[in-house]
């Protein structure tokens, strides 16, 4: 169960990134930073401005969507025709900006944001499970399912899938490319905001930790070759469970947080084992 909760976190982050990558070709490495900043804003609203909790959580999620959308509108188009690497490095710039802002505004003080769901728990044999953990698992499954259905059933979804294949051809077919991309930025940003809230409860509200957790979460997306949502979901859970299974073996226990990176490296190498010469 604990592995599943952790895996849910990997999975839900991975799903958000894959959706965006499929629609826009951008691997958003600032994904974690967006969620972290949203959570810090929620923290300030609750603890400094004494606003209601539900409003603060809502703002955190909406902030994720808006921040992501803004980046998508401002930086996305000029880089649209460029290589995926250039686009990804661009999001690294965004990551650094967000990180700098977080360190500057919220300084280095420790913050804690505990979702109320964490207090509700129950006992499964000797292990206490809280609702936030269940929420993480549930959110991962629900978001994957909803997004998958959305991509398959709705017109916008179909347009997104088409975009993933060939941007220029899709544009020629009369699909409003920029609007579809904006929708993807917004959607993935909303998921980032929600994931950020979950993570700040499960892992802790710390700008640096949350920002770079994205690297671990990427492993699930990479196993799915940045394409398949269901595979991302399953991979996330498998990595989470794998990591918690390693815990009892004291020899490797202290190295267990390496699990996602090892999985990602193996996946990348496996997919690259046959590579044709790239011709332009």
């Amino acid at each position: 169960m604990l592995g599943l909760a952790l895996g849910g976190v990997f999975a839900v982050s991975g799903v958000g990134m894959v959706v965006l990558y499929r629609a826009t070709g951008v691997l958003n490495l600032a994904y974690g930073a967006i969620g972290a900043l949203g959570s810090l804003i929620a923290w300030s609203m609750i603890n400094v401005f004494l606003l209601p909790d539900w409003l603060s959580y809502l703002v955190a999620v909406v902030f994720g969507g808006v921040a992501s959308l803004l980046y998508g509108l401002l930086i996305g188009p000029p880089l649209a025709g460029r290589d995926p690497l250039v686009k990804a490095v661009g999001t690294l710039g965004f990551l650094l900006i967000l990180l700098g802002v977080m360190d500057w505004v919220w300084t280095d003080k420790a913050h804690a944001l505990i979702l109320p769901t964490t207090q509700w728990g129950f006992q499964v044999s000797e292990v206490t499970v809280n609702v936030t953990q269940i929420l993480a698992v549930g959110l991962a499954v629900v978001i994957t399912a909803v997004t998958e259905v959305f991509l398959r059933v709705t017109r916008l979804g179909a347009a997104m899938r088409a975009l993933a294949n060939d941007r220029e051809a899709t544009a020629m077919l009369g699909v409003p490319v920029r609007r579809v991309e904006a929708a993807a930025w917004l959607g993935s940003g909303l998921i980032a905001g929600a994931t950020g809230l979950l993570l700040s409860t499960l892992v802790g509200l710390d700008a640096v930790t949350l920002t770079f957790l994205v690297i671990a979460a990427l492993s699930a997306a990479l196993v799915a070759r940045l394409q398949s949502l269901p595979v991302t979901l399953v991979a996330g859970f498998v990595i989470g469970v794998l990591q918690s299974l390693v815990t009892p073996f004291s020899l490797v226990s202290s190295y267990r947080s390496i699990t996602p990176f090892v999985v990602a490296i193996v996946a990348l190498l496996w997919f690259a084992r046959r590579r044709p010469v790239v011709l332009r």
Binding site: P276, V277, L279, R280
Partner: protein, 238 residues
């Protein structure tokens, strides 16, 4: 001489080359066909970027397919690309010298042979000039100079005239015709400009949808009914 026997290339469900047997005896040979006929794929098989599903390729008695791709340049196989690939970060001289030094050219003869190749293609720029600052025509010529430097045995030219104005094409044609004589290399020319092909090539082969539909002396091939139909089908001018 290049001898291609029963060559088939398959990518998943697509078969860009389907059982082609073909012989380029020497001199300058043309290879034409509508878009998607398999010309560039055939070049890619020759230069090793694509592994054929079946078939064999022998060039001057050697089994070309058995060589690793970077070794083929050393053996004497050179090519240009549809979109030119002159190295922008290097000077004209270094672009050509790079091929010379990686294909076993003697160091003592490098300078002379590189300048010789630059002269052969008629490049009238400072050899120290960076390729990145050159125009489209000069870049094409740099790429051809790289293909003819040293001791080439087979030179594959992939649409060298693409995007060039007519008078440039004539100059290009004159230059291509000189290559077999001055370098002793077999030239295979792919181009859509039929005047260039008929001006350069004694014999020509025609591919359509991966099949060889005609080959022989160029004027005859161009009159061939199947060839005309293949081009008409794609609404391309002969």
């Amino acid at each position: 001489m290049i001898e291609i026997s029963d060559l088939t290339v398959r990518f998943g469900g697509v078969t860009p080359i389907d059982g082609v047997s073909l012989r380029f005896p020497g001199g300058t040979c043309g290879l034409i066909g509508p878009n998607g006929a398999g010309k560039t794929t055939l070049f890619n098989v020759l230069s090793g970027f694509v592994s054929p599903t079946s078939g064999s390729v022998r060039a001057f008695g050697d089994d070309l397919l058995a060589m690793p791709h970077y070794r083929r340049a050393r053996w004497g196989l050179r090519r240009t690309f549809q979109t030119e690939q002159a190295i922008e970060a290097l000077s004209v001289f270094d672009n050509v010298a790079m091929v010379h030094e990686h294909t076993g050219g003697r160091r003592s003869r490098r300078r002379r042979e590189v300048l010789d190749a630059i002269g052969l293609v008629g490049l009238e720029v400072d050899p120290g000039e960076l390729v990145g600052t050159l125009g489209a025509r000069e870049r094409r010529l740099v790429e051809i100079a790289r293909a003819v430097v040293g001791e080439p045995r087979v030179v594959l030219l992939d649409e060298p005239a693409a995007g060039l104005p007519e008078e440039e094409t004539e100059h290009l044609g004159r230059m291509i015709r000189r290559i077999p004589g001055e370098r002793g290399a077999l030239v295979v020319l792919v181009d859509h400009d039929m005047s260039l092909v008929s001006a350069c090539c004694e014999i020509t082969a025609v591919l359509d949808f991966g099949h060889l539909i005609a080959s022989g002396p160029t004027p005859e091939v161009l009159r061939d009914e199947r060839v005309r139909r293949a081009y008409l089908g794609t609404e391309e001018e002969l």
